[in-house]
């Protein structure tokens, strides 16, 4: 039951977006998010759609994969819509429901906040779909490494994330094994109320934790035997290099941000 898990949502393909330097991708995502937040009116979202469509097209990802990322968001979306529709206030009533008034401002706000949320998630999904978790970690480490001056443990964090990624499948496999062993001796993980089911997990979690700690001890010893002594003086197998395609991506994003900022000046109407 625990197999067939994919870690993160990386979708391996050969595309320009996949090949971009992870550091650049992370920074571009931050720029894009800023862009989504400063979009001044609804018309501005056309620019966001265009930008995202271009990125999606270049990444060769099937569009439905991106949309799938929105599914867990649906309740928050509905909630945001309702809150904004009825509690924004404003001067131009469109519909009076007795207990609340639907205003033009409310309607605009509901659409704006929902679009913001949707585009935030779509953009982030694009990053995680096109970047392998380890590459992402690598990029983060290098982006954060200037903070080492302030004693921020960038290397240690990246190392922990890599090890976690390495051991999640191993521990899942082990959990599966323990579960089967317990089931064979009559343990029941599937029926009962929530509380009973949670209680049934205890005999699973205890051995799992014990073994995880043991593995941690073993791994630390093995890492030490292989000369691991922290991030200092360490070289890397992969050299990250900002290439021409990265500069083009940066340029496109810069144009996008500029257009978003300037948009009210060349669009006559305001929504």
């Amino acid at each position: 039951m625990l197999n067939n898990i994919t870690l993160g949502q990386y979708y391996p393909l050969k595309s320009v977006v996949h090949a971009l330097d992870p550091r650049v991708k992370i920074l571009l995502l931050i720029a894009y998010i800023a862009g989504v937040f400063i979009v001044p009116d609804l018309t501005g979202f056309v620019l966001v759609v265009l930008y995202l469509a271009l990125a999606c097209k270049l990444s060769k990802l099937p569009f439905r994969l991106l949309i799938k990322g929105l599914k867990p968001l649906r309740f928050i979306l509905i909630f945001t819509c309702i809150l904004n529709l009825f509690f924004t206030g404003g001067e131009t009533p469109l519909l009076n429901l007795g207990f609340a008034t639907l205003t033009r401002e409310g309607l605009i706000n509901a659409v704006r906040y929902s679009l913001r949320l949707i585009f935030l998630v779509l953009g982030s999904s694009l990053l995680t779909l096109t970047t392998a978790p380890v590459t992402l970690t690598d990029g983060l480490e290098r982006l954060l490494s200037p903070l080492k001056v302030l004693h921020f443990p960038a290397h240690e964090m990246a190392m922990m994330m890599t090890i976690a990624l390495r051991f999640i499948p191993t521990l899942l496999e082990e959990a599966d094994k323990i579960m089967k062993a317990q089931s064979a001796r009559g343990a029941d993980f599937e029926s009962g109320r929530l509380f009973e089911r949670a209680k049934a997990m205890v005999p699973l979690l205890v051995p799992l934790f014990v073994s995880a700690f043991r593995r941690a001890g073993d791994l630390a010893m093995a890492m030490e035997a292989r000369c691991y002594h922290g991030g200092e003086g360490r070289t890397r197998l992969h050299i990250l290099k900002v290439e021409k395609r990265d500069w083009i991506a940066i340029l496109i994003t810069a144009v996008f941000i500029a257009l978003v900022i300037l948009e009210p000046h060349f669009v006559p109407w305001h929504l």
Binding site: P133, V134, T162, I163, L165, R166, P169, T170, E173, R214, R215, D218, L219, M221, A222, M223, E224, A225, R226, C227, Y228, H229, G233, R234, T235, R236, L237, H238, I239
Partner: protein
């Protein structure tokens, strides 16, 4: 370059929570290029012994010289660990990265090897253990024997002189065990000094020198022929002789004229054929 690559002189080591020495006044030497087995039942101190060799633990008394360097000397810690690589028992708990290639690179990254030199060394190491085709795989999808071979490649890439194996085949199925042992034998033939900790007599029988540990002490050292000649003595330390040696002993007791020193199936067939030729 002295011929004696590992020298232990009257070494003692005690774990903090324990009341007696895990390694008790042990002196031994390993010659360059030799394949040495250390045998002993659980808790005899054999794992502790190898950890002393690459400085994972430091002796309470006595000295350990690895490739001429004292493990007590802080300056040499990383040098020693680079030259004396170690492969552990559990194949899952010693691989760090999510891709085989990157795991092999781990030791190189730690020792500050320039990025440009890495691919060549990684490829050579993977080739030596016959895992080239698996370079881009995820370690958790490999078999136990394959994982151990990746671990060996990770050490090989660091270009060590000595490889220490702490029961590296104990958790493998017979096929994986053979796979790993043959890989190590090949490395030894190419000049690698190997210390092979095991509780499998058949494996020890194929090494050049066998040391037997019991209750922290080194109780017997010699060639496999010498060590396995006396079954009763071995049983004192709760060890058995290799199956073929036991069979030869039974046959001798029954009056079959087999010589001493039969350890493997090959030895046995050779001697039986020789006997048959005389009939």
């Amino acid at each position: 370059m002295s011929d004696e690559i590992i020298v232990l002189k009257d070494v003692c080591y005690k774990y903090e929570e324990s009341s007696h020495n895990a390694v008790d006044h042990v002196s031994m030497t390993v010659r360059r290029g030799e394949m040495t087995a250390v045998l002993g039942r659980n808790g005899s101190g054999k794992s502790t012994l190898v950890k002393l060799i690459n400085g994972l633990i430091l002796p309470d008394s006595g000295t350990v010289l690895t490739d001429g360097m004292d493990t007590q000397d802080d300056e040499h810690v990383w040098d020693i660990r680079q030259r004396a690589g170690m492969v552990f028992q559990n194949p899952d708990n010693q691989l760090v990265a999510t891709v085989v290639r990157e795991d092999v690179a781990f030791g190189l990254e730690n020792t500050g090897v320039p990025s440009t030199d890495m691919p060549e060394r990684i490829d050579a190491a993977l080739k030596a253990v016959n895992m080239t085709d698996f370079a881009e795989r995820a370690p958790h999808l490999l078999s136990g024997g394959q994982k151990q071979r990746v671990a060996i490649a990770g050490i090989l890439a660091m270009r060590p002189d000595i490889m220490l194996f702490d029961e590296a085949t104990a958790m493998l199925d017979p096929r994986g065990r053979k796979e790993v042992f043959e890989t190590v034998r090949q490395l030894n033939r190419e000049g690698m000094t190997v210390v092979w900790i095991t509780h499998f007599m058949e494996e020890a029988a194929q090494c050049e020198t066998v040391h037997i540990m019991h209750d922290g002490g080194l109780v017997l050292s010699g060639t496999p022929q010498e060590v396995f000649s006396d079954r009763e003595r071995l049983q004192n330390w709760r060890l058995d002789v290799p199956p073929m040696a036991a069979l030869a002993q039974h046959l001798r007791a029954a009056g079959v004229g087999l010589p001493e020193g039969i350890l493997s199936i090959d030895d046995m067939t050779r001697e039986v054929e020789a006997l048959a030729a005389h009939l």
